[in-house]
Each structure stands twice: as C-alpha cells, then as structure tokens.
Amino acid sequence: MTVRLSTSQIYNRGLNAMLDVQKAANRTQEQISTNKRVLSPADDPIAAARILQLRQEKANTNQFNNSLSTLNNRLQREETAIAGISDQIQKAQELIIQSGNAALNKDQRGFIAVELQSLVDGMAQLMNSRDASGEYLFAGFQGKTQPFQKGADGRFAYQGDEGQRFIQVGPVTSIAANDSGYEVFMDIPGVQSGFRARASEGNTAVPPAQIDGAVVRNRDQFESFFPESAVIEFNPETAVTPPGINYTIKQVSDGRVISENARYVSGNDIEFNGMSVRIQGQPAPGDTFMVESDSSKGLLAGIEDYIAVLQKTGNSTADREIRDQALSRTITNLDSAQGKLLDTRAAVGARLNQVESAKANNDDFDLVVDTALSELEDLDYAKAISQLTQETFVLEAAQASFSKVSKLSLFNYF
C-alpha cells in the first residue's frame, strides 16, 4: 500500500530534518567556540561528576601548596637562626679557651667575660627570632611570649613551652613547622646535674613573687639529693609566732619535710641540700615554688655559669682549679649544644627536603589532574571541525533540495 502524503507532511518532514541538522551544527559550533566538550553537566553526567571531583582534588593540592610555602618560610627562618647561633657558639668556645690562658690577669678575663656576655645576648636575640607574622619561632605554643627573657639576676630564662606546630601538607602528611626553644636550646644533656627553680602556675600573690638565683652551693650534698626535686610551699602566716610569712620545703616524691615553717625574707638566699635559690616579693599562703632537678644544661645557662666563674675567680691556685674545671665543663656543654643544633639543623633540612619533594609531587599530580580534566571536558578540535563541516554540508543540501522540491506544484500549470 502506498502511503498517502499530505502537503503539511511534506513541509514538516523537510523542515524537521533541517531543524535537526541546524541544532547539531549549532551545538558543535558552541563546543568549538568554548573549547568544552561538556557544555552542561547533563551532557555527560558521569564526566561532570568526575570533573567536579578532579576540580576538588586540584583545590586540595592548591591548599597543600599554600601550606608548603608557609612551611618553607618558617623552616628557612629557623635554619637561619640556628646557623647564626651555631657560629656564635664557635666564637664563644674560642673566647672560653682563650680565657683559660694562665697569663691573663683578672681584668683581661673581665673583658672576655663582657665579650662572652655580648655573645650570650646575641644568641638570645637569634633565639627570639620571629616568623613572617611576628610570632616567636622558638616559643612553642606561646608565639606572642618572648621565649628568652633576662631575669633580675641577669640570666636568661625560658618562658615558652614544649609545643610544636604541625602543618598539613598532604592528605595524611603533616610536617613540623617549628622546634620549641626548650627542645633546641634547653634540653641538652649537661656534664653535671643541676636544678631549675620556677614559680608554680597557680600562685595567687599579686604581683607574683619571683624565684631565681638557682645555684649549687655544695656539689656533694646536691649530688646525694639528685634526682629528687623539692617544693617550697608558703604557709599561713599564723604557722609561726609571731605571725609572719613562712615556708616549708618538702621533697616532692614522698613528701619528706626538708625544712619546716622557716621565716621568709624577700631576696635572701634559701639554701638546702646543697642548693640555693632566691625568692623576691610577697608570696601568698599556698603559693609554691618548684625546685626541680635537671640533668640538662641550657646553652645560654652554660655560658652564663662560666661568665660568673670568670668574674668571681682570681689568680689563686684554688680559683685556677675551679676555673679549669668550669672551662672544661663549659666546653663539653657547648659541644653538646652544638651537636644538638646540628641535629636540629639536619632535621630542619630534612623537612625542607620533604617540603620540596612534596611540592614537586603536587606539581606532578596537578599535571595528571589537568590532563584528566582536559580529556574529560576539553574538545577534540579535529573531530569537532570535521563534524561541523559535515553538518553544514548536510544542512545546505537539505535546504537546496527542499526549495527545489517545494517548487513543484500542479497549481503551476493552471
């Protein structure tokens, strides 16, 4: 059976075919002009989801790269500071050896002491280095607290903590962005055991009473006490008659009383078990001061100890003996300190390497992601252009033939 065609059918068929080709050609043209294969997510939902995911990965890499540059900046600053301190230690060691020369007189040793003190100040300045946003690099978590501050006794004390900041540089990798001053400059094994004194955090006196001047007076007594620690606790004033500020010293480990209800005079040396400390101010009852044994010797404290020896000792044989012992101790301590700095520098260097290789990895990864993205969403020009040529050809042919066919009509013969 032949199918009957109506006139509108003839027109519609021709028109629909042309519209279809026109739509396809238009789309190909849009793809070419935007260089995107996927124009709307619905064009290829699977690819669109993958594209979103890849963009996400790129954003993460970008975030990690930002972290890497922050890290790089901090670590380089740390390295510079440590390198500077290392140099100064060398100078200090030279000066100390020079001071051991028996031909020097007290004044000359005094000059060396002054020079050593300026080295100590210089080192402290480097230890108080700050990062790009003004935070102290070596203060642990207390970035706004200057970590090495000079106390009333003219010696530097560490005010920071043991905190270490980590920065995330990969999905599972974090790299340390600092080392605390405690770790680098304080926690250095000393030749001799010693102790440190500090006020407890919970003290209530206003202004807080200070403790310093911690020295070993009698090495033998102290060694027999070590490694015990002690605590000085202030009692209510009524514990003594007539009432007055008084304290009790106890051994921390078992509560053994070392000295009970002793009267307190601000600024006087408090001596026990070979140790001496000085408390200044008006401690409140319940205030405590920790006298903690310490087998380490801080970098600055080591030199400061030697400066004190230089200033105190004369030319007597006994003094010379003391000085010689102090000299060899200090040199050994400084060697340990130097060793610690070298270790830290190596660690920082290793972290910098890690930063660099992470950066390179990220760049590689970025390239991979870019390639994948390009494959998913970018257009294959050769294919698109040949397609467009074909589509325009078909469109032109359809137009030409349609106008020709539509010209035929029986009415032309009326």
């Binding site: 006139t7 709307s40 619905a42 979103l52 642990g140 978590f141």
Partner: protein
Amino acid sequence: MSSLINTAISGIRLNQTALSVTGHNIVNANTEGYSRQSVSQSTTIALRTSAGYLGTGVQVDDITRHTEKFLVDQVVQDIGTLSDYDTYLFNISQTNNLLASEQTSLSRAMNDYFDALNEAVNDPGSLLGRQLLLSQTQQMVASFDSVESRMLEQNSSVNKQMQAAAGAVSSLGQQIAELNQVIADSQGGGSSQNPNDLLDERDTLIRELSKYVNVNTISREDGGLDVFIGQNQPLVVGADTQTLVAAPGTLDSSRFELYFRKGGELQNITRQMAGGELGALVRFRNEALDPALNSLGQIGLAITDGINQQNQLGMDLEGSLGNPIFKDINDAVVARDRVKADSRNAPPNNKDMSITIDDISALTTSDYELTFPGPGGQQYSIVRKSDGEVMEKGMLSNARPQEISIDGFTLSIDQGTFSAGDRFLLQPTRTGVGQMQVQITRPEEFAFASPIRIDSASGNQGGAEVLSSQVISTDTSLFDNNGSFNPPLAIRFTSASTYDVLDYSNPANPVQMDPPLTNLRFVPGAQNALLPSDPGGTTVRSDSAVTGVLQIGATDNAYPGETITVETTDPATGFITQQSVTTDAAEEASVTARRLSALDGVSTTAYTQTSLQDFTTGAPGEPLQLSLNGEDLTDPNFVLPGEAVAQDVPVPLTADFLRDRINGNADLAALGITAKSDGVKLSVFASTGIDLKFSVDGGGSLTVGDDADLVTAPLPADPATDLTIGGKIDVQLAANTVLSSDQPAGLFGASPTAQSNFLGVQINMTSGSGADGQPSAGDTFTINYNTNGSADNRNGAAMLALGSAPMLSGGNLTVQDAYGQLAEKLGILTSQARVNQSASESMLRQSMDAMQSVSGVNLEEEAARLIQLEQHYNASARLIGLARELFDTLLNM
C-alpha cells in the same frame, strides 16, 4: 429528455458540492486540526422502465471527514508525553546548571572556605588570616543562601506554572463541555450527519488539553466525549465539567497542590495527576527539587555542626574556650520549624513539637510524615517519604515531653493532644541552609589552639614522651571556669608500668582525683591512652567499712564472700546483659579484681596500702621484729643489693631503714610491694591489691594504718602477732553499666556509688621498652591550661580535617562528596530527561505524520481533483447542452 436534463443537473449539483468541498480543503490546508473532507456520492434511485431500470443521476450521500480515532488518540498521548519531558527538562536544567556550573557551584564556595581556614590555621596567631577566614565564612554562608534562594524561586515558579496550567485545564474542560452540547444538539435532530468542523475543533481542544495533563476520552452515544485527566479523574462528563485549581498545600503551604473545586470544598488530586505539564511539575518537585534542597540542608548542617563542635573544643586567640561559630543547629526556633502541622488537623491547636538533630552522619535527605491513623489520638506512625518505610509506630503515652528518635534526629512532643487523622510533616534537613548564620563577629574567636598543654618535668629521668593530646569535650568540670583548666592534672609514673593521675592544684601536695585514677597500667614501648575516654564511664570504689581495715591477729583480710553483678543496658534496645562474679570469703582484692576485669565493659585497678610509724623497741635484747608477707625485714644479715655488708638494724626501727629493706627485697618487688618514707612514716603499697601481711614480734610497739592502731609486739618467747590489711578495688565501668552486690556488708557496701570518671581530655604517650627508655618512677607530666598558646594550631588542624572527614551518610561521604553526589544525581536526571524528551519528540513526529497521512490535505491531490471536477462539470454541462440540442432538433422537425 427531462430525465436526461435531471440527470445532468444532478451531476452539476454534485460537482458544485464537490468543488466547494475541495475548495474548503484547499483553503484549510494550513488550518490547525483540520481534517480533510471528501464527498461520498451514489447513484440516485433508478426508474423502472420496460427496458429495465433506468439511472436517474447522482447524489451526494455525505461529506466525510477523514480521521482515525486511534491515530488521534496516539497523537494526544504523544503530545502529553512530550510536554511532560519538555517541562521537566526545562525546570531541572535550571537546578542542574545552578548546582554544577563552575560559577555558582557550592563546591567552590566550600573550597574557598577550607582554603582560608587552611591559611589561618597555618598561621594561627595572625589576625589577617583570621579576618580573611571570617569573611570567607560569611561568603560561604551567603553562597549557600543564594543557591537556596534560587531554588526556592524555582519552587515558586513551579507553583505559578501549576496555577497557570490548572487554569488552562479548567478552561479547556469548559470549552469541550460546551462543544459536546453543540455537537449533541446538532445530531439530536435525527440527522445522521456529523458536524465535521466542530469535531475537528473538539479534537484540537483535547490535543491542547493533553499538553497540561494526561488525557483519556470515551465517546458518548449522543456524539459527546467524556474526558478523564491524570489517573482517570473525570474532568468533562457530557456537558458537565469540573474546575481544577492549584492552591497552597495543607501540610506545606509553600508547595502548591492540585484540587478539584466542588462548591466550597477542595478535593486534593495531586497524587492522581500524571503526564503533561502538571505531571512533570509535581514529579520535578518531588524527585529533584525537594531532595536537592534537603541534600543542601544536610551539607549545611554538617558544616555548621562540625565546625561549631570543634571550635568549642578549642581555645581562642584571647585564651577563652571557643564559642559556636554558627548559630546552634538545634536552636529552639529552628528545631520547631522542622515540624509542619496540616492545616486541617483537628482542634485544639495546642501542639508544641520540635526536632533536634543528634547524629549528622545518620541523617537521610528524606522528609518524614507523622500520622495518627486512629482509632483515638494515640496510635501514631512515622513514615519515611523517600521509600515509604514505616520507621516507628505505636501508642503515644500521655507523658509530655515524649521523644521519638529515628535516623539521627529526635522528634520531641513537648505539649499537645492529638486526634485520629492528624498529620505532620517532619523535615529534619530542609531548613539546614536557612539556619546557617555566622554568629561570631571578631576574628579572634576562632579557637585554633587546644586548651590544654602538657609539660614534662625537667627532672624526668625516663624516656616517656607525649605523642598527642585531644580534647574530647569541654563540658566537664575541668573546664567549668572559662580560661582555666581546674584542677591542673599531673601524670606521675610510680614505676615503669604504672602511673597515677593526680590533682596538681598544689604542686607541693598532689592529691588523688575523685574518683581516683591511681595505679593505672602503662605498657612501655606501646602507645598508651592514659585517661578514661568513655563519656558515660563511671568508677565504683570499694570504699566500704570492710575494705582495707587492719585485722589484728588474723592472717586474712576478713572480707565476706559476695556475688558482684554487673548489668549493662543497651541504650538502643533497652536489652540488659548481666554478668556476675562470686567471690570467696577473704579473697584477696588482687584476685577479685582480676576476675572482675574479665567481664565485658569492666576494668579494675586494685591496690593495698597502709602506713607504719611510731616504732619503739622493747627492753634491751628484745628489739621489735617485723616481717612482711613472709620476708623478715629486721634480719641483721640481709645485704641490700649493690652493697657489700649488711646494714645495722637501728634501734628503734626507722622508717627510712624499713623503706630500703622493702624496696631492696626482690621477693617483695615481685609481689609489687613498694615503700616510701618521709622520715617518720613508712607507707607500704602493694600495686596488685594482694593482702599486706605483717607479723610483729620481739617486744616494743608500732602504730599501723591511718587510724594509728597501736600494736604491741609480743615477747620473743610468745607467738608473733599477725596483722593483715586487705586491698581496695577501683572498678571502671563502661557507659550504661551498673555494679551491684548481694552482700550489703561487702567490698562495695550496700549501695555502691558510681562516679563519672570522664575528664574530657585524652593523653597519648609512649616510651622506649628497654631499661633506659621506659618511664622512671617519679617522672611527671603536667596538664595545664594552654595560657598564651596563641601559636598553637592543634584544634585548628582538627577543624581543617573536617573538610576531608566523612561526616555524612553513615560516615561514608565528606561534605564535598555529598555535594558531588547531589550534582551527579541531578545531572543524570537531566540527561535522562533530555533523552526522553528527544525520544518523545520523534514519537510525536511519527504519530502526527501518521495522522496527517490520513487527515492532512494534499494540495496536489486537490488540484488534480479540481481538474477532474472541472472536466466532470464540463461533461455534465455538455449533457444539458446535448439535451437542449435534442429538444431543439425535435422542435425544428
């Protein structure tokens, strides 16, 4: 002759009719809905003559309309399908482009936020980074808001489209009904002829109607057509018609629903609508728009809650505990907005209900419906709308508030009485974006630092080190006083493998915590979590009148035997598990503790302690002799390890001497017995909880225990006096676990009290495992508030980790994953709609083609017919001419 003329005239008449039909066809060739007409003709009745039947001419029987009902119906169907997919595609493309385009994508907004967070966390002390983060936080919220408001605009556009479509459906129904009437009237006069053009007009109206909704028709005998829309809802019956309106829904007035209006009554037929524009709009709203809004809400809730919770675990730049950054997700007003009551619910209007989110990861993106099917107002059921699953059903009690928990949220009914037929819409996630609101105003308030700091004492000799610390909750008493950690804690090792956690308020005198955390086990070389980590965990102490009591003249601790029962209640099911241990009379605490530890959810530490002092000696030659667990402490020949000769036994005995003897005794060390002396008092401690068994002899006296019981030693000739002290047990119970005993005078007393042992913080430590690396007794680590810790970013790092933490869908999706999944789902729906749309377009083309093939006018055909009719007319006219000539011939004869 006259018959010839009459025959010729009938031919002329026929030709005139046929020519005007052809003319009608030609001029209507482009008329929408026109069906080609043609003349059907037949011979007129013949005359019977003697010669036979003589033909008398031709007549018009009918003007036929060329149409095929099944083709017309097919076109109606296909128009409906195309219009359905067209509308759906138009609407969903907008949503899809909104969510997935690079410019408006929330993925980018979240990335920018986490970027800024990363920068700020890398440099926690910098106000600049914090300021940028604050503005980026606001920016992210603004982006969420703007996407949501675009989607809400789409919803109101859907409402408007529904209104317009419903209006069109009603008006078309009206017109069809009127045509039905006219057609019936025109056929009513007994005429069998069809009003062709009216039929065309009605078909056109039906095609128009099918654009809006699925249409079915049934012909009536009177020529009328009954029209049913959607799933066979009658729109037109004969000349009667119904009015379709779109009006706000009764459950959710922001969503329009479709109703038949009957008088003042509205009958909801939304569920019965399908196909066409209306079907597409309802489907788009149900399967794309609302789920997408819920998904966004869920993502919004996850970010808001995650960041809020984490910020509250940290310390801000000014040293205070962090506050929520965003408005609380369970804010009372927000929680109430999650429940919508049907406006037709029975009075009284006294319901006060709210939904609080408990567990983000368990939330779904579905809405829920609470119904009261009756009988009575207590029978209820909650259905999850996405899959129709009944989540909960049962009887409400009269208690208020009453809580029902499902899928990560809790519906709480605070007030109200219900009636059968009441309905409520529960939308836990719908408002998740709308409620996002930045609450902090100053950049200092980001709490990047952890509020605690751990310091190691400088005198520490061992190799223990802190690996990490976590703050799990700042809701414990330790953080009660903002800006402090009170009391500060100390972890003090009492041996390489045991430690105490102490209240370090007074460093001179660290005291036990309440409940105590003493004699806990540390494994050198391994990672140890040092503090209790179960927020519901409790400690029960054996501190009854019988424990640790000095028994003079006895060799056992005199503990009564008892059955200790531990009951654990499963919080989800209420199921109770019972475990028990029956102890022997005088069983040592170390044994009981070990047996209790074997139970699920129970761990124990046992220890025994006592003190000895005021040593006096007897008469000369009768010194005080003392032994402990079978070891003679006053043996004059005992040589301390590391020494060459035996130490003289002092008279009277001293605490220091006994301490050295006990600590130097390998057998006692193996039993875990150690001693301390402060010069006056000797404290003896057994870390396993075994009985401490002293025996005194030889004269003299001493006081034992905190009650300072004076014990006078019998003379050497008399039998020695035994002293026994039993151990104590601290039992740590998991959450929802209760300990009880059948013996009121037992270790735990008549009513054992459980105290929460959760501190809200956790410390992880490790150490070397060798002799040098393990912790030494006395090593101390203090936990203090992180005062001045501006450079600390530990809590910030945890906040940053939320970006890649699987917080959603049962812990499988990160917020970015969830967003990607949403975009992907909409993309798939859009692409399906696109395929369907183009398929239905070509289906329509085919069915239109088929219909046109039957009904369409072909101008060539009509032209040919014109020629044919012209010739025919000429021929008929010639017949008349011939007849006249014949007549003339006759006249002229």
